[in-house]
């Protein structure tokens, strides 16, 4: 094996190198230079993101432990784009006095979680997969507790680490049953040996529960709202978009490649949980006062829609899931970008605080509206096409009732998304958010999100490209 073959692991290697560089910069740079660490990290990561799009070859490493293909590269690139947006969005927040000391920590932790996610997506063996998942989770707990002087942030960190320990336990338990019945942990071999015995189904359900925890699928979602509310907004946006996206990607790969033998079982599982997730997520979202909790529940219900793409078990389904996540990244990060900007400027995080926002900050309100419309799936923005393809994928396989439930749920979701729009445009605020000017990084991130929401919807090329690349796992 020559050194060159390592290059197919390009994404992960670059991330690790970047993490090391940030660390070195932190150690060797003096006080003056350290101010540029955020800029340095953003530029570094920007280069990595672009490098990810260079042509790549499919292949395996370490005797099949690590697998890469056009589809996994596409997924990693999509995650990179989202993570880059989070990086850019968090720069102004890191400039604050209480955070400036910890800037390099923040990037270091984010880069390691991202590396973990990439390994998870490229895993060809359950052990590799498990290492990836832990590498992706544990640093996030540290990030959730980033504002450690705030009780809520500390609480978020503790809650995240305890609940993920529980979910990891269940997941491992499930994996042990899979290993016990098949005698191997390689994905390929498991796929061949997997039967339909009760023990194997039990193992699958436990494995699924562990993954469902990461995606916040009901009933494994309860940690979500508390952690989202307590964490700093940038971390919340990372959790709700990148973390969730990575888990969705790996779950769809595993379902399609490792568990095709029990497709009827997992289709039923997806059916039940997606109905629960959409409905419960929506019902909770209606009642939220805090904008972060609100977006937490909205992201739970979004996960429910995403599951609709799984159920077909075909290429169209996979393409629609990947496309939807791309759209979701732009839409949700657009909404979070506005929340971050307002939170940075005023510290306000309640929906009531947004009353009359349009009169003081019209452009922020318009971006928020666009993002929420996209999340709600109102044509002609990208979210509409995303939902359209997801629903098509499910309807094509004859799941009409499920699609009907999903459509009803989108109507409910429209109600609460519009509540926020109403607050901004119609309600009169007694103490509205004052007019403020956003800095360059906030504007840049928001501009990319807006462009993404508009362009991914209209340029059919993007969906076609995703469709062609899908199903190469």
């Amino acid at each position: 094996m020559s050194l060159g073959t390592f290059l197919i692991m390009r994404h992960e290697l670059l991330l690790i190198a970047a993490a090391l560089l940030v660390l070195i910069a932190e150690i060797f740079w003096n006080e003056d230079k350290r101010r540029y660490i955020s800029l340095f990290s953003v530029i570094l990561f920007g280069i990595i993101t672009i490098a990810g799009f260079l042509p790549s070859t499919a292949g395996t490493l370490f005797g099949g432990m690590y697998v890469t293909s056009a589809t996994t590269v596409l997924m990693k690139n999509i995650l990179n784009i989202g993570a880059l947006l989070v990086f850019i969005q968090s720069v102004p927040w890191l400039k604050k006095k209480e955070n400036s000391e910890k800037t390099s920590e923040y990037f270091l932790l984010l880069l390691s979680t991202l590396a973990g996610m990439n390994y998870m997506i490229s895993a060809g063996h359950f052990l590799m997969f498990y290492i990836g998942i832990e590498l992706a989770t544990i640093p996030i707990a540290a990030l959730a507790a980033f504002d450690s002087y705030k009780n809520k942030s500390a609480e978020a960190g503790i809650k995240l680490i305890l609940s993920s320990a529980l979910s990891s336990g269940i997941l491992l338990y499930g994996l042990s049953m899979i290993y016990g019945t098949t005698g191997t942990l390689y994905f390929k071999e498991v796929a061949e040996l997997f039967g339909n015995t009760s023990l194997q189904i039990l193992g699958f359900i436990f494995f699924f529960a562990g993954m469902a925890f990461k995606i916040s699928i009901v009933p494994f979602h309860l940690w979500t709202a508390d952690v989202y509310e307590g964490s700093p907004v940038s971390v919340t946006s990372y959790l709700s978009v990148i973390s969730k996206g990575a888990a969705v990607f790996i779950l769809i790969i595993l379902l399609f490649t490792v568990f095709p033998a029990i497709i009827s079982t997992w289709q039923k599982t997806i059916y039940v949980t997606s109905v629960l997730t959409m409905t419960i997520g929506n019902l909770f979202a209606i009642r939220q006062q805090n904008i972060k909790r609100f977006l937490a529940f909205s992201s739970i219900s979004q996960a429910g829609y995403i599951l609709l793409g799984f159920i077909g078990g075909n290429q169209l389904g996979m393409a629609s899931v990947i496309y939807y996540l791309l759209v979701y990244i732009f839409s949700n990060l657009g909404a979070f970008g506005v929340v971050i900007a307002i939170s940075n400027a005023t510290g306000k995080e309640n929906i009531d605080d947004y009353n009359g926002l349009y009169h003081t900050n019209p452009s922020l309100s318009l971006i928020m509206t666009l993002a929420l419309f996209s999340l709600a799936g109102i044509p002609p923005v990208a979210g509409f096409f995303g939902k359209f393809f997801l629903f098509t994928a499910a309807a094509e396989k004859g799941y009409y009732l499920l699609v009907l439930i999903a459509v009803l749920n989108t109507i409910i979701s429209l109600y609460y998304y519009l509540l926020v729009v109403k607050a901004m445009f119609i309600n009169k605020g007694e103490t509205p958010v004052e007019k403020f000017k956003s800095d360059f990084f906030t504007k840049l991130a928001l501009a990319i999100c807006v462009a993404g929401i508009v362009v991914t919807g209209f340029a059919s090329i993007i969906f076609e490209a995703i469709k062609n690349l899908s199903f190469g796992v």
Binding site: A209, P219, L283
Partner: protein, 639 residues
């Protein structure tokens, strides 16, 4: 094979211009935006001319016929394997001709607006909207399929709406823009229904497949019948409904006169030369289907055109607002074009009407844009729209006067100006196929000459009016477009349309038919002479005439009370007997159901709040029991 790939920039560039001016213009280039927009359009005009040259003179003909070339095409939305919506660029004689018309007039209007709109609030907004309009209109004419055309059709409607309501602080402008949008939108509903029937029947949106004379789409058209007409006929009648709305044909013409509230350059561009002829273009685009598969629908086109033409000409004789006179004249001239299509056959000399219609579209665009821009120059000088408040302006506005006179002579059909040739072809086509429509057109020709010269004499001759300040000629940015368009109006009649733009792409011979031409010139001169007698000098004849024909005059002056008829139908009939019951049903049945669902949702959401207690041990409990319940469900119950 000539490469036409670059044509993608023709619609794309105005769009980029719109984004650029719309987003950045206000902040960074409030003064420069006019120049920028004009330069952008200049480039596109150049590209269009190059395209026209390459298409008409260099591209390969097969069997002596110009081919339809798909320059660019991408699948935009794949609905099913067979049914997809494409976006692309189709080049054929009519689309290339329209490219030339649109870009020429648009460029003239851009240059003119530099002077006319100078110092207006929202100068950059105006140019951004103009770019949006150019983009939509070019996308419309270049569409490869009927759905793309529909999308751009609506975009054109939106930009027209934005430009009519440009002075959004003026209530009458806002009313007019709403009226235009709603009326055309209503008509477009018919268009959409037509598209759906057509594509359902033929399984395609694509123009080339649809209009292939030997293709399946046309062959199967006779199919199933409803009320004695074939499905194809019905779909084409519905499609034409969209054309009636956009082209302001009777009975959907009511928006056009009000649309004159917009800035005058807009009236010249959108409501005279380009957008309003979209209906004619639509029929021409679908012409093989109309002619070969749905002749009844084509007859409808002809009669609607003839009636609108006469109807509008009568009203135009009584109006005093100069822009409204021009608006009715536009409607009347478009009626001509529709009529020409209606009497045309397909292929060779049979397709004389088709060629004449396109010819007239071309020449009309030139002279009507000239008339509107001239009117703008007059309004610019005297600050009123009413010809009763004008008179004797020839001394103050020499260039405007001369160009306006040329335009009036052109529209009256005096040889050798372009209007004479195109109108003559229409009359000849009608003469050979339908004598009734031919007679109608003779009357309209006389009326046209009369009302145009009534306008001309009252503005430039007649009594000396005392003006607040001495009117002065417009700046060069405004007079140069006038001169260029005047040259176009004079000479465009010599373009050999019979060689270039024909129904089947093949050229054919035409000759001047004196039996048609001489009476038409005479009747035009007759109209001019009457106008001369009545309006050259201040005279009592017009008032006496009005008094003699009191009732008919009043009817015509009030536009045959069409607006009132609409108000009666909508307010007294539709609102009272349809809308109110529907509203009751909506409020007491639909809303109540929805409210019921909403309150159930609310109360459920209140009940389940307890799950989210914040206690981690409870979360863990739910997690584990969830996993176990799922396991039990799938292992024992639902296997």
């Amino acid at each position: 094979m000539i490469n036409f790939n670059y044509t993608i920039w023709i619609p794309l560039l105005p769009f980029l211009m719109f984004l650029f001016l719309g987003l950045a213009g206000h902040k960074y280039f409030p003064k420069l935006s006019g120049i920028l927009g004009t330069c952008g359009l200049g480039i596109i005009t150049l590209l269009s001319y190059i395209t026209a040259y390459k298409y008409f003179f260099l591209s390969e003909k097969i069997d002596g016929a110009y081919q339809k070339i798909t320059a660019v095409n991408t699948v935009w939305l794949q609905l099913t394997d067979k049914l997809h919506i494409d976006m692309g660029i189709l080049l054929d004689p009519i689309s290339v001709m329209m490219l030339v018309v649109i870009t020429t007039v648009s460029l003239m209007v851009h240059i003119y607006s530099l002077g006319y709109m100078k110092g207006e609030k929202g100068f950059e907004r105006f140019f951004a909207f103009l770019s949006l309009f150019s983009f939509s209109m070019l996308g419309l004419v270049l569409a490869t399929n009927i759905f793309q055309m529909y999308i751009f059709w609506e975009l054109v409607g939106v930009s027209s709406f934005l430009l009519i309501g440009f002075y959004y602080q003026k209530p009458s402008a806002v009313r007019a823009s709403k009226k235009a949008f709603i009326v055309t939108r209503f008509a477009d509903l018919g268009f959409l229904i037509g598209i759906l029937i057509l594509s359902f029947n033929t399984g395609t949106f694509d123009f080339i497949t649809l209009t292939d004379p030997s293709g399946t789409a046309i062959a199967q058209g006779g199919g199933i019948a409803f009320l004695g007409l074939s499905v194809m006929t019905w779909s084409m009648i519905f499609v034409f409904m969209g054309g009636i709305g956009k082209s302001a044909m009777f009975p959907f013409h009511i928006w056009l006169p009000d649309a004159m509230e917009g800035p005058t350059p807009v009236s010249a561009l959108i409501h005279a030369a380009t957008m309003v002829v979209a209906g004619v273009y639509l029929v021409a685009r679908m012409f093989p289907i109309y002619s070969l598969s749905a002749p009844v629908a084509l007859e409808v086109v002809g009669y609607v055109g003839a009636f609108s033409s006469l109807f509008a000409a009568v009203i135009a004789c009584t109006q005093t607002d100069i822009k409204r006179v021009l608006a009715y004249s536009t409607m009347s001239q478009i009626g001509y074009m529709m009529l020409a299509l209606g009497v045309s056959g397909y292929g060779g000399h049979e397709g004389l009407g088709y060629m004449a219609s396109m010819f007239h579209l071309f020449t009309h665009a030139m002279f009507k844009a000239l008339l509107f821009l001239g009117a703008g120059s007059i309004i610019h000088a005297v600050h009123t729209n009413h010809m009763t408040e004008m008179g004797g302006l020839r001394k103050y506005l020499p260039i405007t006067h001369l160009t306006f006179l040329i335009a009036c002579l052109t529209i009256a059909g005096i040889p050798p100006l372009s209007g004479f040739f195109s109108k003559d072809e229409i009359l000849a086509a009608a003469f050979h196929s339908n004598k009734l429509l031919f007679a109608v057109e003779y009357v309209v020709a006389g009326l046209t000459a009369f009302y145009m010269f009534r306008l001309y004499f009252s503005i430039f001759w007649g009594k000396e009016t005392h003006y607040h300040h001495t009117p002065h000629e417009a700046p060069a940015t405004m007079t140069i477009p006038l001169i260029i368009l005047a040259i176009g109006s004079v000479f465009s009649g010599f373009i050999p349309f019979n060689e270039l733009v024909t129904s089947d792409g093949k050229g054919f011979e035409t000759e001047l038919e004196l039996i048609v031409a001489i009476p038409s010139v005479l009747i035009g001169l007759f109209g001019i002479v009457i106008a001369f007698i009545m309006y050259k000098k201040e005279s009592a004849i017009p008032d006496k005439m009005a008094a003699t024909f009191k009732y008919s005059y009043k009817w015509a002056f009030n536009k045959f009370y069409m607006d009132e008829v609409y108000l009666f139908v909508t307010k007294k009939i539709i609102f009272r007997y349809i809308s109110q019951p529907v509203a009751w049903f909506d409020r007491h049945i639909v809303d109540a159901t929805m409210n019921g669902i909403a309150s159930v949702t609310q109360s459920v959401s209140l009940r389940i709040r307890g799950f989210q207690s914040g206690q981690l041990q409870k979360y863990g409990f739910v997690f584990i029991s969830g996993a176990i319940l799922l396991a039990i469900l799938f292992i024992y119950l639902w296997k």
